[in-house]
Symmetry: C2
């Protein structure tokens, strides 16, 4: 299970990691009290359970936050993205269930945390053992992580996705980014790429450009689709400018190839950066089944 | 009247500009349909009206926006901040009233607009005739304007105040900027100034620092008052970095000397910039009474 703040995604997998069933719901961790997690889980996947044996559920994400199901204390980098001995067992009443929560990662300085992305980083390593280099994980909070010898060496979080959502939905810019007559789907790729270039060239000027999106709409009738692409390009470009020392002159592994990650792909390629784009769900599943492999290996070790 | 998005402020003034009465209400322009403006005005100031003669009301701010009382089309810079011939008379039914709306200013490129601040700029010029130089007007949307020979030459808007409000109230940072046990009043001036210095030194890194405010709270128990001062310093510092070419090596006239403007004062003085800080209300009133002076001069001209 990938139990994020706003969504719960579940897959039933066989031992070899192939997907047998999938389901998802809007019962994200942010909206649940600790005692509501087990019912939310059962509501989604009860048909998959059997009375013959206990089913092991591996969950990553915000279920392990302090305000989640049970606090799964962070592992401090540098460390492996997953370690069996740090899994936390969540309290359950249903005898058919055993739930293990994957802890997130923390970094003391610069202070940073992640929950959920560590499982995707384990997925990158499971698919490409020995991968050494930079991984970019776009999302509400985009993470850039450095992998080396199977460990996460350092990482950095950017609030770009959340900033875009706040500015486009709740700021004065919303009037210029959305129009009654507009479907909200339009997009101008050239404007987006040009805005990333502008932000990379003069990152300190991005702050001066934001209100201009409103004024361009009022004075020159700039189309909402243009304004959205420009805002997105300015913000992603500003992130790339701040992260430049990480990616410049290197190859980037990107988790995701559609939606928001596709924009990072476009922006990085416009800078002549070689990008390997992975499928998000496949990477998450590779990480989650990796936990199962590690548990099985450990229990065989114990039995032996 | 200063009729902003969220507040309506009114003063009754004698011909020489001294204040006889003052009142204000939460009936800001953003919450009113056109036909609701006159009732909102009467609700606030009806006791000041007399049946003996019509009272002239001068209103600046969002009352003149397209979605306000009546659309008062922008004057394009370079131009005087106020000009009598561009005042727009609002439709009223009460015979005791004559309402004149001050239009805002626009700039074609870089696209920008203001409504309300033009009256404060007129106030600066009324108090210091012939003032030539830079004026900074902090607020939800901070404006930097260049005055020369009684005219506004150019200006630039920064969404810093709105960004701070969104990030501190609606983003993931809210958990670290406010605590149940915290009054919300605490402030660390050293942290604020240091953050402005950091942002001015490396403005492109501000984007990388934001999520750290959350992580510092989670990992190292950073106090909410420290996080608030640091966020404010990073954002105001980023604005100053973007506006550096405007203020560097010059004197700045700041409209305001308490609250948010006091933070700009502190940040600019830490950069050894000479700042003249004016009283906001006095400056607004100087601008509004300037309109009255101009109208009287014009009507005498007409009578002569």
């Amino acid at each position: 299970m990938d139990w994020g703040s706003t969504r719960l995604r579940a897959w039933a997998c066989s031992r070899d990691g192939s997907v047998l069933q999938r389901a998802d719901s809007a019962q994200g961790a942010a909206g649940l009290a600790p005692e509501q997690f087990e019912p939310a889980l059962l509501e989604l996947v009860e048909p998959w359970l059997t009375t013959e044996k206990r089913t092991t559920v591996i969950a990553c994400g915000m279920a392990g936050a302090r305000q989640g199901w049970i606090d799964a204390p962070y592992s401090a980098v540098p460390c492996r993205p997953l370690s069996v001995e740090r899994l936390i067992e969540a309290p359950v009443t249903d005898p058919r269930l055993r739930v293990l929560i994957v802890p997130g990662l923390s970094q003391a300085s610069p202070a940073d945390v992640m929950r959920g992305e560590e499982t995707q980083l384990a997925g990158v390593l499971a698919a490409q053992p020995g991968y050494r280099g930079l991984v970019c994980l776009p999302g509400t909070h985009c993470k850039w992580a450095e992998l080396q010898e199977g460990r996460v060496i350092a990482f950095r979080t950017f609030m770009t996705g959340e900033l875009y959502a706040l500015l486009s939905q709740s700021s004065v810019l919303r009037h210029s980014l959305h129009a009654d007559t507009d479907t909200g789907d339009g997009w101008d790729s050239n404007v987006f790429v040009e805005a990333t270039r502008q932000a990379l060239g003069h990152p300190e000027q991005v702050w001066a450009e934001l209100f201009g999106l409103r004024a361009q709409g009022l004075l020159h009738g700039q189309a909402p689709a243009t304004a959205r692409a420009r805002l997105s390009g300015l913000l992603i470009g500003a992130e790339l400018a701040a992260a430049r020392s990480l990616w410049q002159g290197r190859k980037v592994t990107l988790v995701g190839n559609i939606g928001l990650p596709a924009l990072y792909l476009e922006a990085l390629r416009a800078q002549d950066i070689e990008v390997q784009a992975l499928n998000t769900q496949r990477t998450t599943l590779d990480g989650l089944t990796q936990v199962f492999t590690l548990i099985s290996a450990e229990s065989q070790e114990t039995t032996r």
